[in-house]
Subunit: 128 residues, 2 copies
Amino acid sequence: MRIEENNSERFTNMVDNIKKYGGCPVSATLKLIGGKWKPMILYFISVDVNRFGQLQRMMPDCSKRMMTVQLRELEDDGLVHRKVFAEVPPKVIYTLTEKGESLRPLFSMLSQWGIEQVLEPKMKTSND
Amino acid sequence: MRIEENNSERFTNMVDNIKKYGGCPVSATLKLIGGKWKPMILYFISVDVNRFGQLQRMMPDCSKRMMTVQLRELEDDGLVHRKVFAEVPPKVIYTLTEKGESLRPLFSMLSQWGIEQVLEPKMKTSND
DNA sequence: TTTTATAGTATCTAAAAAGTAACCATTGTT
DNA sequence: AACAATGGTTACTTTTTAGATACTATAAAA
C-alpha cells in the first residue's frame, strides 16, 4: 500500500544499486553511524563539545576505551577530524568534516522518527 | 561551521530530549533498523517480496535462522506484520505496518547518502 | 514410497562489539 | 615529593551478534 511507483521498477533499481556498488547503501550508511555511542558523539561534536574530556563528561557511561575506539573509527571513516595541539597537558579538538556535516539532515530525521515512533509511545505504554 | 542556530540552544534541546525520553532518539531508531539484514529485509518486504522463502532466495547469504530472528525482531518492534495462513505447506506473508511504512522517507535518505558518500567514493579510490 | 514444498526450531560454535581496570607521559601546581 | 590535568593505551573479560548444521511437520505429487 501507498507505493505510488511501479514496484518491480523500484525493485530493479535497488537490486541494481546493490549489484553496482557491491552492497546495500542503507546498510553502508548504518555501518558508519551505527556504533553504540556514535550518534551521541557526532551530535556533541556538532555542537562544539569537541574535546575528549568534555565528551567523556557528557557521556559518563561511555568508557575511555570506547570513546577512543569510536572516535578513531569516525576519523577513519572521514566523519570527524582530529586536531592535535603540541601542548602539555595534551589538547585535542574534534570537528565534523564536510562528510560529517552532511549527516545533519539525516540525523534530524532519525531523531524525529525516534521520538515520535519509539520514545514517546514507549512512555505512554509503560506509565508506572 | 554552518550551524545557523545558537549552539547552546540546540545543545540544551538535545540533552533535554535525552533526559525527557530516557535515551538518544537517533540511537533508538538505529536500534530498530540497524540489524545486519534488517534494511534489506524491510526493503524487500516493501516491494512485496513478502514470503519467507522469497526473502531467502533474494538474500542467500542470510541464513534461515538469521532471517527468522530478524523478522521476529521487526515484528516485535511493530515494523512488520506476519500473517499466517492455515495451509499446507505453510504460507506466511509479511507486510509493513504503518510504523514500518513511515520509515520510507528515512530509508530514501539513508540510501542516497550511502551511495553518494560511501559506495560511489569507494569505487573511485579502489579502481582495480 | 520417496521426494518436494514451505516455514520454520534447536543446539552449538565463532566472531565481533563492548566493558573493566590498570597504566603512561609531561608539565605545572601545592 | 606528591598530585592534578589531559588524552590516551594495553590487556583481559563479558556480552552480544551472527553463522553452521541438523532437525521438524504436513499434504500432495511423482
